[in-house]
């Protein structure tokens, strides 16, 4: 099989700039990989070979005419299948939406198209970004190549798997309680949840309006910053979008961490809850790597993990139930069992409880930012456990809520999950780095310094050539 599958976005882009790689060649190589690999890993709900080849040909023509639009021009990308692409079904991985064809592009789709990206297809997700992994849906769940048949995290499961298997160099996910960072952690790739309001959600099927984010997923940090650069920008028609300047997200990459102050939030994973010992050791090792690079890493305390988790889950359950209540009442059998169970709970949350959760959210934002004053970022866990076998229903249910991602959906801060080594059994471990609002460039700087010092993002799953 061609090793073009493991080309990074940045490498492919450089080769296209130098006219040493044709977008058509790259798309054809990836389509061949997908045809060979996807029957086992199920990253795709819909593959679009004809459309992708036509778009790649158009990109090649423009590039050869000296009109390369930017780093994404000619680069294959995938969309989590709750993101609209005009003329193509947005299924939300659900029987309910099996025939639902998008009439317009989502704003992020529009931005990618304008940048010249090539859409390869729509990617698996947990049903409506909440119910998974599930085996009672029209499409099978995506499977993690790490471990040969494990839970890939979710809900942006197909995006994580497509990257981890070399089917795509870049994909979009969404994150309401951790759904970009969970598959990033489980699949040993890089996923960023940007600041709330940084990237438009218009045209993305919502799960919880006030917590939803769209985020870039890639195999390394440099690629992630390049992808966010295209996605970011104010959208006056997205009520959550904020009109702030879009900086150069790559500007600080390569400057190292010497002199930066990083707070280590240990109590989330070794106190409030207890992570897997190898995961704790990986975070300790990451803190030491950053210290050796010149960062001042010291322990700090935020609010207890459970405070953020309760707040996140009540807001999410309330807003998601409001969105789904009619279908839950009228077509309950069209939902998979997991989505149905996770969605109906919101039915009994009273208006005052929802308002109290919103009030608590504001308090947690202030408390968190106060605790982070004087620090450039915090380091903590993303997932608390390595990925379990996907067919072990009890293990998946146990691992799913054991995480420290929800706090930063509550606070809206930018947060990245990146690989941090492997267990003795060869399963992915990860860390999470969290910045101040709008400071994605600083998060990328720290993540890149760690990545460069450790090389964890260069590892590939055994058996996937």
């Amino acid at each position: 099989m061609s090793d073009l599958g493991w080309l990074s976005l940045a490498e492919a882009s450089r080769l296209m700039d130098a006219r040493k790689l044709s977008p058509v060649t790259l798309v054809d190589a990836l389509l061949a990989r997908i045809e060979q690999l996807d029957p086992k890993w199920h990253a795709f709900i819909r593959l679009m070979p004809e459309e992708a080849r036509a778009a790649a040909q158009a990109a090649e023509t423009e590039i050869m005419a000296g009109r390369r639009r930017g780093p994404l021009h000619g680069i294959p990308v995938g969309l989590k299948d709750i993101i609209d692409l005009a003329g193509v079904p947005t299924t939300c991985h659900s029987k309910l939406f099996a025939g639902h064809v998008a009439t317009k592009n989502a704003v992020v789709t529009e931005r990618l198209e304008a940048a010249g990206a090539v859409f390869m297809g729509k990617l698996s997700t947990h049903e409506f970004a909440i119910g998974g992994p599930s085996f009672d849906l029209p499409w099978p769940p995506a499977v993690n190549p790490w471990g040969g048949g494990n839970f890939p995290g979710g809900s942006s499961s197909g995006s994580g798997v497509a990257l981890a298997t070399g089917m795509l160099p870049a994909a979009l996910g969404t994150d309401t309680g951790g759904s970009v960072r969970n598959p990033a952690s489980m699949c040993a790739i890089v996923g960023l949840k940007p600041t709330y309001g940084r990237v438009s959600r218009r045209g993305v099927f919502p799960l919880s309006f006030s917590l939803d984010h769209v985020g870039p997923m890639t195999r390394d940090v440099v690629d992630n910053a390049l992808l966010l650069q295209v996605l970011a920008g104010h959208d006056p028609l997205d009520p959550g979008s904020v009109d702030v300047a879009v900086p150069d997200f790559s500007a600080e990459i390569g400057r190292g961490v010497k002199g930066l102050k990083i707070g280590l939030v240990r109590h989330f994973y070794d106190g409030d809850e207890t992570a897997h010992p190898e995961q704790i050791a990986a975070i300790d090792a990451a803190a030491e790597v950053l210290r050796q690079q010149g960062a001042d890493v010291r322990e700090i305390r935020l609010a207890p993990l459970g405070d953020y988790s309760v707040c996140n889950r009540i807001i999410l359950a309330s807003e998601a139930f409001a969105l789904h209540r009619r279908d839950l009442a009228e077509r309950p059998g069209d939902y998979g069992a997991l989505a149905r169970q996770r969605l109906v709970g919101g039915a009994i949350i009273g208006a005052a409880d929802y308002v109290d959760a919103l009030r608590q959210r504001d308090r947690l934002v202030h408390l968190t930012l106060e605790a982070m004053a004087g620090f450039d970022a915090v380091l903590t866990a993303s997932s608390f456990d390595p990925p379990p076998p996907i067919d072990d229903v009890e293990a998946c249910a146990r691992v799913y809520p054991r995480q420290a991602r929800q706090p930063f959906n509550v606070t809206g801060q930018p947060a990245i999950a990146i690989p941090a080594g492997f267990t003795a059994d060869g399963l992915p471990l990860s860390i999470q780095l969290v910045g101040h609002p709008w400071a994605e460039a600083r998060v990328y700087r720290i993540a890149h310094a760690y990545e460069a010092a450790t090389g964890w993002t260069k590892h590939r799953p055994p058996g996937v050539m």
Partner: protein, 64 residues
């Protein structure tokens, strides 16, 4: 949660079919959510205003 309470909550939410079709799912979901609600803070005061509030759309044309 007893059956009467489950029926009352399901009825109020328009989910009466669930009592017949998915009673255990409903019971588990309501029980979990009830536990979350009980864990909300009890010390929120009048000045703890939610951050996510109604706001009018900004108009680029008028600058208002």
């Amino acid at each position: 949660m007893d059956t009467n309470e489950l029926a009352r909550l399901a009825g109020a939410a328009g989910l009466t079919r669930y009592l017949e079709l998915y009673p255990e799912q409903l019971r588990a979901a309501f029980s979990l959510t009830g536990d979350l609600v009980r864990r909300l803070p009890k010390d929120l005061g009048p000045t703890d205003e939610p951050g996510h509030v109604f706001r009018l759309p900004f108009s680029r044309e008028t600058g208002q």
